[in-house]
Symmetry: C2
Subunit: 231 residues, 2 copies
DNA sequence: CGACGATTGAATCGTGCGTTTGACATCGGC
DNA sequence: GCCGATGTCAAACGCACGATTCAATCGTCG
């Protein structure tokens, strides 16, 4: 797991700060080296001097945020699993370990919360579309680890079903990160302006219910139209 | 609602076909006019001659798929609401009206199913990031209409809560569309290779449970960690 | 001070982009 | 048989991009 170290000041740091800000705001493709150097008030050549290439800088920005988020996810997951030592971990706590690090890392970062979430969302959203290998490795590792934990918590859900449900969960989280601001406009403000903490709690509850669907003996069988389920 | 008409053959049609294929496969930003004309084996100038600009062609491709999907969504929603005439519509049927048109329109389109879903996913995913106004209008209209219907079906869920849950639902659907192929690699094949119909049914069930969370009197109260819910 | 590696700066490279131009072909209607 | 409308084509335009060059400057240590 590559360490990302940065000087506390100097033009390299200024470039990195400008880059992460712009990447978060406009998207990875939409930001040019000249945009970055202009915002940082530094000569164009500096990006290639300090980082080697635009792509290397981009990869560095991604790892800078992806790594701590994923480390905290794994740490939290191990904490709750240890807490329930062998017994089935409540779904909500697994999902919490998956999404809560977004909020805690956002507070730690030097980006504004809004930009941090956008940046994180973009990183997760663009998985598999020509991303560097080490970015994809990060995600693969996390998915595997959490899938194992979910499988233990939901022993009656078929693996194939579970994989898809985790996929739906991830999609909801990514959409939440990337489109947090848009939902306001689209809902005419009916979404309110909750903190991310509150929204994550909503999300955990929603996703837990979806993952758990069909495993509660008390629950009446829902009837979808042409929906045929295989368990 | 703008009509999108195309000749059945000729270079204009060839360009459009090449464009939609490439946009679906590589993404809207990653495809150049030269890529399109090269695939269609037609001179570069033809794009601007027939469509006015690259952006106009892009908008045409988007509307071409967005409009029929949304029309079918609204038609299906009205059908189920009429069927239940005033009574509460089962959640699953509303969600079905929202997602099922993707599969039916995919079958009608001249794109391969895989590319159709990718294209649709990209259109929905990039909402609000500098999209043309008439694309955003399309989505706003759909969201409003379905939110009203969901609100009737879930009278005990607070509006603010509901808006977020619909947001989570949309995110899951978009992720499903855009990353359908990636999930295979990430899950080491544990996802199987179900048809989109089957996956949509899974999704409906997952999303319905999430939307309904907290409204089933039989359901035991879930306990999340620092999760504080406001109802 | 002087030397030397690290850093900066202006200018420039080659490339690919969306778009435009103007010459040329095709063809139905008077 | 000519005309204008409709397409097609090679070529070029102006621009922005990532990257590179090379001289100038800085900071530090002998």
């Amino acid at each position: 797991m590559r360490e990302i170290t940065l000087p506390e000041s100097g033009s390299k740091r200024k470039l990195f700060d400008a880059a992460q800000q712009l990447f978060a705001d406009k998207g990875f493709e939409a930001v040019s080296v000249r945009d970055i150097t202009q915002l940082a008030n530094i000569n164009v050549a500096a990006v290639n001097y300090h980082f080697g290439s635009r792509d290397a800088l981009l990869g560095m920005v991604m790892m800078r945020y992806l790594v701590p988020i994923n480390e905290e996810r794994l740490a939290r997951l191990e904490t709750v699993e240890r807490k329930w030592s062998g017994k089935a971990v409540p779904l909500e706590e697994i999902i919490d370990a998956f999404v809560r690090p977004l909020a805690t890392q956002a507070r730690k970062s030097d980006l504004s919360e809004r930009l941090f979430y956008k940046l994180a969302g973009r990183i997760f959203a663009e998985q598999g579309e020509g991303m560097p290998a080490r970015i994809e490795d990060q995600l693969q590792q996390i998915i595997e680890r959490f899938t194992r934990s979910f499988a233990k918590a939901l022993p009656t859900v078929a693996m194939e079903e579970l994989v898809w449900r985790i996929h739906f969960l991830a999609g909801g989280m990514i959409h939440l990160l990337t489109h947090q601001d848009i939902i306001h406009r689209l809902s005419n403000g009916a979404s309110g302006t909750p903190t991310m903490e509150a929204t994550l709690s909503r999300f955990i509850r929603y996703a837990a219910a979806g993952l758990r669907e069909g495993t509660e003996p008390a629950e009446p069988a829902p009837k979808g139209p042409q929906a045929t389920f295989d368990f």
